[in-house]
């Protein structure tokens, strides 16, 4: 798990470069909440603290949730998210290895549903030392701040462009603060670099990222070919949302993912399909969290139906030969 944390560094660094230190403070705060909640619950469950805190899984959940939230989010928002992630999604199910749902995504989904205003406060690219850092500590965001901050993510802006506007008109109107699109693409590439490190270290297998990204690519390409004026381009889908981050860092969480290789392929493809469905026809601009949670639900079924053929098992062998 330490390697996963190390692999998030390129992504975090790039995000910090574009959105300021609010990213780092998010991550640190979330990791601290994570350790605190884990310790508290372990104490209540009368379990030894050391091995569980030392495995860095709570820190990782914090890093992943912190990176998903708008930079310099209010402290209580992060706290609520981590409470849902560590206490509810992880420890109440029995701790590491027993949680059916991805903890970071449970936290994220809860926040997205409960506090939509705060969760969509993605600023336009910022200097390294943003004003918003202060509001993280006070925990309140004033209305004018909301106005000045309220940059939308590219996917968000595109989704709400309105039916009357065609894609080319939309982009011509310069809907986003300058540099936004560029920033998101660089961040996606940085996550890809971190993900490649995980692949190279054999910490994750290629199955889930490959099947998730390729299913997204196929659907996005088909839609784009069908009507390029209304559907976003495949590149926008892959490079500006949480697709890359989700494919390498969220969906590959082994605890809540399918286990057999065939199961992983189906699981990843399912996430890709759901992301595209929700992005295109659902109510949210991005959907990695919901897609992952929905596929988490399918994991027991996937595991049941994708048991590989043991060496020497007869009936399947006959089928193969014929």
């Amino acid at each position: 798990m330490r390697w996963v944390i190390i692999a998030t560094l390129p992504g975090l660094a790039t995000m910090t470069f574009f959105f300021g230190l609010g990213v780092i403070s998010n991550v640190l705060l979330a990791a601290a909440f994570g350790l605190g909640f884990e310790a508290l619950i372990l104490r209540l469950r009368q379990r030894p603290l050391h091995p569980a805190l030392n495995d860095a899984s709570a820190v990782l959940t914090g890093v992943l949730l912190g990176a998903s939230l708008p930079p310099a989010s209010p402290w209580w928002l992060i706290g609520v998210g981590m409470l849902a992630a560590i206490v509810v999604a992880k420890q109440l199910y029995g701790g590491l290895g027993h949680n059916p749902f991805n903890p970071a995504m449970v936290g994220y989904a809860l926040l997205l549903v409960s506090f939509p205003t705060y969760m969509t406060l993605w600023s336009s690219p910022q200097p390294l030392w943003p004003d918003a850092l202060w509001s993280q500590i006070t925990g309140s965001v004033s209305l004018e701040q909301i106005d000045s901050l309220s940059g939308a993510t590219p996917l968000d802006a595109f989704k709400h462009k309105g039916d009357g506007l065609s894609a080319s008109q939309f982009w011509a109107s310069q809907p986003l603060p300058s540099g936004t699109l560029n920033a998101w693409q660089w961040i996606a590439i940085a996550w890809l670099a971190g993900g490649s490190l995980l692949l190279a270290k054999r910490i994750i297998s290629w199955h889930i990222p490959a099947s998730m990204l390729s299913s997204m690519l196929v659907i996005a390409t088909l839609l784009y070919l069908f009507d390029p004026s209304h559907f976003a381009s495949p590149l926008l889908h892959l490079l500006t949302g949480a697709a890359i981050f989700g494919a390498f860092f969220i969906a590959t969480d082994p605890v809540s993912a399918a286990t057999s290789q065939r199961g992983k392929l189906i699981y990843g493809a399912g996430i890709g399909v759901l992301v595209m469905l929700i992005r295109t026809w659902g109510g949210y601009p991005d959907a990695v969290a919901f897609a992952v949670l929905l596929m988490n639900l399918c994991v027991p079924l996937l595991d049941l139906y994708t048991i590989p053929r043991p060496a020497g098992a007869q009936p399947a062998a006959d089928k193969e030969r014929s």
Binding site: D55, G97, H98, S205, P254, S260, P308, P310, A311, Q314
Partner: protein, 551 residues
Amino acid sequence: MARTFEFHGGVLPPERKQRSLVPLRYAELPKRVVLRLDQHAGRPATATVAVGDTVKVGTPVAQRDGMISANIHASISGQVTHVDTHAITIDGDKTDTWQRLAPIDWRNALPDQLITRLEQSGVVGLGGAGFPTHIKARVSERQRIDTLVVNAAECEPYITADDLTLQHYAADVLEGAQLLASLCGAHHIMVGIEDNKPDAILALRQAMADSQLLTVTLSVIATRYPSGGERQLIKTLLNRDVPNQGLPADVGVLCHNPGTLLAALRSVRDGEPLVERLVTLTGDAITDPGNRWVRIGTPMAALLNEAGLNRAALHQLIQGGPMMGTPLPNLDGSVTKATNCLIAATIDELPPTPPESPCIRCGACEDVCPANLLPQQLHWYARASDDEKLASHRLFDCIECNACGYVCPSHIPLVDDYRSAKSRLRHQQLETAKAEHAKHRFEWRQARLAREQAQKQARRQARLSKQRSSQDADSPAASPQADLRSLRIAQTAAKAAVRKAEKNLARAAQQDPQQAHDDLETQLATAQENLQAAEARLAEARETSEPKETL
């Protein structure tokens, strides 16, 4: 060179074979040997000597008990000083006088003669399982075998016993393969060897240049643990899948280890019973590693001391390889027929496994499982004692190679879980089988008693009527004839029952050499007794009826 195929999974643990790859030597003659009676698969042998008896090297000291069991011979000359139900102790007289059996020219011998010799000599599989070789040789009575595989893969780290056997005795090993192949009717011999043994491969090539009775193919396979697993090797060499509830014989293959072939040849050609074997002594805690010819029963402490054991540095003593071997609690044991390797490891060499953490379902175990199972699912179900799921996830297909435990990032002792789950399930099966068996036995006894009662009644009736009729005239002896026929039928049925029981037992024991098969042994013994009784009755009936017939 023959084409090879791939099996699923596998790992590449550090080989550490170099240390013991030094010329072969003979270990010092031990002053005392302790011959364990349970050193082979199946039932322990029964001691046939008493304290005070004088024995030579090769004198039988214990007799096999039941079908799956093996004879044991004195491995030094001297005097028996202790006998109990577990072991026989012999104190040596340093003369090393031998008692050999008559050599047999196997090319011109009858199969029965060869099988009897293997059985007499106590030859068992020397790869580790210790399965009696004469039982394996008899498989052709039931199944057609086309290929004999010489399993020289030796994929476990550290062990080099097969490697050295082939380097020094390649021609003898191949002759032993010819012997056992012709015995089981195979027409093809395949030698599977990992590519990390160049010297052994060279020796084999040279030996193969001599003319051979049967065609021999040498297959050099990629080094990947557990390529030496029977199923994995058969898949790699022949691309045949051994059915998961079956045996290699089901796909026409028999596997033998080079050491076993050498021992089989020596027992036949030289009349030498199995009294010594090659043992790899290795590990960083000994200064003089290497392979030695060791007499069976040599105390481990003496053997390791001779190899320069540093007791202070010794952290763990392992019998077998580091992947599948058994850690030994102390140095008090003695070498058995199954001891292929002793690793005296230091703490740096094989550090203790870190404490277990929870399974995070990473699936690394699944990628390496050579049986293509889902080890982490099995782990959950084993811990939860979910027997149905264990069965549907094919727990019993696990070959316990420990590749999963080797790669597990949470350091979970997976194979320990599987072993305990297996033994729990086996115990359950055994209990049900026992109950069933007892029921059958009871019903059978009731039926027999009723039948005997009826027969007695009938005989009395017949006697009475005969007494009455003999006063009139001599009647034709029709009833003895009918009696004879029914007795003959009974004898044939009893013979068939014995054959069936033998077959069942041989199969079960080969599938599970580590397990006791007492119930099946009992069934076989019962069947044999029935057969004897039937034969005795038949002989008796013949005697009584013959005079009348000749009259």
